[in-house]
Each structure stands twice: as structure tokens, then as C-alpha cells.
Amino acid sequence: MHCARCLLRVLGQSVYRAARPSLLRSPQHRQVLRRFRSNDTPAEFVGAETAVARDPFAAEHKNEASFAEALRAFAEADVRRRGHVEFIYAALKKMPEFGVERDLAVYNQLLDVFPKEVFVPRNFIQRMFNHYPRQQECAVQLLEQMENYGVMPNVETKVLLVRIFGDKGHPVRKYQRIMYWFPKFKHANPFPVPQRLPEDPVDLARFSLKRIANDLDARVTVYQMARTDVSRSGEQTAAAPHIVGIQSPEQMGLLGEHDPDRPVLVEGPFPLWLRKTCVHYYVLRAEPAPPEERAEEPYDPERCFDYPLQLDLDLDRDLGDMDTLDVEDLDEGPVYAMCMTSQGDQATLNRWISGLQESNPILGRIPTLFRLRAAAPPRELPAESPTDESLGREAPPEEARRSAN
């Protein structure tokens, strides 16, 4: 009996040997199958090159075409599609290896493997009693894998499901659920991340910095592009990492007003997740000024002509008019700039600060403290006391002072 696993392995061999039209009818393939079952090595493998060179299961042979070839081979082998449930489960499991898990056409082809109209219930008793439960469960698992990978089914999926299982079975109900809930949640993310992120690290840094900047006026500056040195033996070593920074005009204004006696801190690296990739960014910020040093600057009435910024009215606000939460405002100090770089050591960050100094000359007079920690935070035991381990206060492994020029 041609079991599903054997068919997949046979297909591996055939892909290696250049595709033939009908796989299981030719005598060579029956020979191969017979050889599969015997213990002695086939003639072509004896004294051949290393197995690696002739590996039929190598990753380069696994692509959408070979997957479709496997499905077609199974479908053409038997009109009754014996063992199709196990075959579909195995194919679902192998989809990530072939790189087709987000491809709707492949899921439709996989659904096509089911024999049509056999599993459609023909009367109310069959409809009541979960007609062909194993096949229904298999189709539901297929739809569930589609749902896990975020693949939206289309009308071809629906037509296939109705042809295979009738219009009141579990697979069609699951399809209806997917079609109801997916559009509702597709645009629920107010900060969407595209499926395909840019591969160039500078472009990725540009995208992520714009995302976290919280200001549409912020400008991205590339202070240094990545440079690789080719050493004598021909290896490429990264001589200089890329440095991409971002700063908005408002942040520049705040930095201009910073008191030169108080230091600014370079902190990092902080993680930022974009779908499945994690990038790290560094922040230039200052500690908030103590309350006695905070000067209240009067509002300039000419700053905004649309509405008055300050009203001296003597109105009493009732309980029903309080529209802000009664919570003390956390003042964490201003953030002056952010940057992303592949190598977060002090030399690179110094280079960033020098680059920032060109547009913010006050940085030349302000002392800079570096608070860098290891990119992966160490395993912290949950029983530590909070005062020692709070994020901003932990003793940094490298702390240096860049004195005023």
C-alpha cells in the first residue's frame, strides 16, 4: 500500500532526478519503491558522491513547486484518495519547511485533496450525527492553521468546503467564523507593522525610529553608514556600524534650554519588537529638574491665535465635569533624541553624540553619562527587593564621564 510518507519520500527522489510526468505508473518508480523496502542500498548510491550532494530532502528542493507536485502526485495516484486525512495532517505539518504556510493557493490545493461530495450529508440524521467526523476535524485543523498564520480564505475555499462537506458542517461554520472575525480585527492595530519589513538595517532603523518618535516633525539622520573591512585572508569584518538617529524640532528646543550644569544620560539598549524581529534603540534624556529649580514660564499669548491658552475665569468645576483622572503625573524628564545602531558600545554612541552636536551646539558644554546595560537583561530572580533592581537605578556595568570640551 502506498502510504503517504512513502509518497513524500518518493517525491523527494523524483525532484532530485528532474520531474517526471506520472510518478507512480513508471516501472523505475516501482523499482525505487521496492528498493525502499529492501535493506540493501540501491545501485546508484553505492560508490556515489557524498550523501549531502545527492540529498533529496535538502532545503533547496523544498519550495512551492515541489509541494504542489506532492499534492498532485497523491491526488492522481488514487481516485478514492485512501489515507487522505493522514496525508493532509502530514502536509500541514510540513508546510513551514517548504515555506508555503502563508500561501492561500496552497491551502486551496490541499483542500482539493479531499474527495468531493462523498462527505456531504444526505438527510437530517446524517446532518445531526456529525457525518464523517475525522474528515471534518481534519478540515477544521486546516482552517485553524490558516487562521494561526493569518491567511484569509477566499471564495474558492468556501466553494471547496461546500462541495466537500455540504453547507452545514463544522468546516463551513469555521470558515464563516473566520470570515466574520478577521475583517473586524484586521485594522484594530493603531500602530500597524507591515508584513515585510525592510531588510537593509538602515531602512529598518529609519522605520522603527519614526514609529517610536511620537512626533511627525521628527527628522531621521544617518550619522554613519556601515563599513566593512576586508582583511588579508578575505574575511569581512565590520569596521564601523551604522548609526541612525532621530530628533524633532521640539526636542531640539528642549535641549537648547537644558541647564549645562546638569548631565544628560545616554541609556540603552531598549528593545523594540516589530512582529518577530527585535531591534534595540538608545535614548538621550535628562533627569527631571527638582521642583525648586523648575521655572514657570508665562504663556506667550501670541503663540496661538485660535484659542486662549490660559483663562482667568473663576468657574467652579463640579464633580461631573472632572474629565481627567486623579493621578499624580509622572515626570520622567525630557527625551532629547534617539538612535539605533548595530553595535552599542561607548565609542559608537560617542560618535552619535558628536553628530548630534552639529545641530545642538549646547551638547559640547553638557557632561554626558552613559548608562548601558547588556542587551539581554540578566535572569533576575523574582525575590529581589524592588529598590535595588528598578530599571533606571541599577548599577550600570559601564559608566563613563565624557567631560566638557
Partner: protein
């Protein structure tokens, strides 16, 4: 995301499965099984009298604590409902329910991860910068435990404890005069899910939770999130249900945050406060349809 669609007859996420057909001659085991028992862990067959541990000082502390709570409960109704004057209770527009200032605030929260079902994710909770925020951090790993039943894994969550009155009676949050959840968070770009569990009557409704997404932007700036309660959809054991109804706000038990976005690696979430507010501009009662189950194909 951990929301999965499926008909109720399918048992798929192993951790939410429930042994119904045990052949157990001891009646107490099937009647009193409440906690999840990890597959492979031996059953705890100690008779109830062996589970008592008696401590005099803890007993006295307990009595003092409960009597204080009872006294406060008795006298607060002379001030007004829930200890607030009636005018304040009626006209209140914003209320801060959880504010993380000081380590006492962390005692109202529990964290859990898929370590309970045999996974390898870790989650820890501590106070953030200057002891003024709560910092939830850890590592997510989605390798499923090898017990032959679990297929998906990799989740971490933080849940508030059920508020308790004197002598450990259940108390509920009453948010019936509000319609929006207002949080201030600082995440790292990961999508979280907010779970609100309301008080239910029937035992089948025990795992009914109302969920909605919390998308974080990441970055050093705080993010204010306002989610109206009409957007929360009903799920049971992680599966979104066909019959939806709006969340009833008069008896809320717990609120929680879950991460299950299948991206292995470290995560962190900082929460400044969680409050509820009444947004007069929001008139929607429920965001999802309430009619027509099983439509024609």
C-alpha cells in the same frame, strides 16, 4: 494572538481541556477538582484533615485583619455606597482603580506563564523606575511541552486578584457608571490582550472572559490607551464565541493582561495606572452583531 475560532466540540488547546470522564470511585475527587492538574503530575490524595496547618500568630493576624475589614464595611455604608458619598458615586466620571505606587500595589496582582503546563516561558513582576510603575518582564518561549497532548504554547499573563471583603468573601468591582477603560502603558511594540472576567452564575460560565487587544507602540514615550467596554468580545477558554453579548459592568472580578504572540524572546510592559472613565461621546452599546447565528451559506 491567542484567540482561536472553533466549534465547542473541538478540544484543541490542551491547557484548557478538562478531564470529564474519570473513573474515580472517590466522590470528592471529581466533585472538588478545581485547580488544573498538569498531565503526569501525581494526584494529591491527602484527606482534608491533613491539609490544615495551624499557626497561632498567623491566626491572630488573620482575625485582626478580618475584624478591621468588617468594621470598615459596617461603617462605610453610613457614608454612602462603597464608602463614597452618594453624590460622588453618581457623578463620578473618572476613577483610578489600580495605581502602582509602592510595593503594596503589586500584592494585588498574580503572574503566570505556561510553566504551569510544562512550557519554558518566564514572567516576573516588579516595580519600575522610582517605584512608581509596575514592570512586567520575562521571556516567551513557544516550544510546546512534550506531554503528547499540548500543541501550542508560549503565553505569559498578569491578572489582578479578586477583591475580598471581610472573612474572604468575594467582592466585585462596580463599574456600571463608566464606559471606557483608560490605561497608561509603555510596551515594547508587542500586542497584548486585556482580559476582563465578570461574575457568572452557572458553572459552565466559569472560564468566560471578555477580551480586547492592547497594541503597544514601543519607545520611550508613554501611551494612553482608552478602550470602550463595548468593544470587548466574549471568549470561553480562549475561543471566541458565536453568541456575543456586551460586558456587564456591575460585577467585575478581575482584569488581566496576556501575551501570546508567538515571537520568542524577552518582553516587557510597564503600566502606570489603570482607570475607568465615562466618555459621554461614546454611545455605542456593543460593537459586534447580536443576531443571526448559523446564517445560510
Amino acid at each position: 494572538m491567542s484567540i482561536i475560532l472553533g466549534p465547542p466540540s473541538m478540544r484543541l488547546l490542551r491547557s484548557l481541556q478538562h478531564h470529564q470522564y474519570l473513573f474515580c470511585p472517590v466522590l470528592s475527587r471529581s466533585v472538588t477538582q478545581g485547580e488544573y492538574r498538569r498531565p503526569g503530575k501525581p494526584r494529591d490524595n491527602k484527606p482534608p484533615w491533613q491539609k490544615i496547618n495551624f499557626s497561632f500568630s498567623k491566626g491572630l493576624d488573620g482575625i485582626r485583619k478580618h475584624l478591621t475589614l468588617l468594621k470598615r464595611e459596617f461603617f462605610e455604608r453610613f457614608v454612602g455606597p462603597e464608602g463614597k458619598p452618594i453624590l460622588e458615586h453618581m457623578l463620578e466620571q473618572n476613577r483610578v482603580v489600580w495605581e502602582f505606587r509602592g510595593s503594596e500595589s503589586l500584592k494585588q496582582w498574580t503572574v503566570s506563564s505556561d510553566r504551569e503546563i510544562g512550557g519554558q516561558s518566564e514572567v516576573y513582576l516588579k516595580l519600575g523606575r522610582n517605584n512608581t510603575t509596575c514592570f512586567l518582564y520575562g521571556t516567551l518561549r513557544s516550544t510546546p511541552p512534550r506531554d503528547g497532548e499540548t500543541r501550542y504554547s508560549g503565553y505569559c499573563s498578569m491578572r489582578s486578584k479578586q477583591p475580598l471583603a471581610a472573612f474572604d468573601r468575594k467582592k466585585h468591582h462596580d463599574w456600571s457608571s463608566f464606559n471606557t477603560l483608560h490605561l497608561r502603558v509603555r510596551g515594547d511594540g508587542r500586542p497584548w490582550m486585556i482580559n476582563i472576567a465578570a461574575e457568572t452564575y452557572f458553572s459552565h460560565q466559569k472560564d468566560d472572559i471578555y477580551n480586547y487587544f492592547l497594541y503597544t507602540r514601543g519607545g520611550p514615550y508613554w501611551q494612553e490607551v482608552k478602550i470602550p467596554f463595548s468593544k470587548f468580545f466574549l471568549t470561553h477558554r480562549g475561543r471566541i464565541q458565536d453568541d456575543q453579548h456586551p460586558l456587564w459592568l456591575d460585577k467585575i472580578n478581575t482584569i488581566g493582561f496576556t501575551l501570546g504572540d508567538k515571537a520568542d524572546g524577552p518582553f516587557q510592559l510597564e503600566i502606570d495606572y489603570i482607570g475607568v472613565s465615562k466618555d459621554y461621546a461614546h454611545t455605542e452599546e456593543f460593537a459586534y452583531e447580536l443576531y443571526k447565528r448559523n446564517p445560510n451559506v
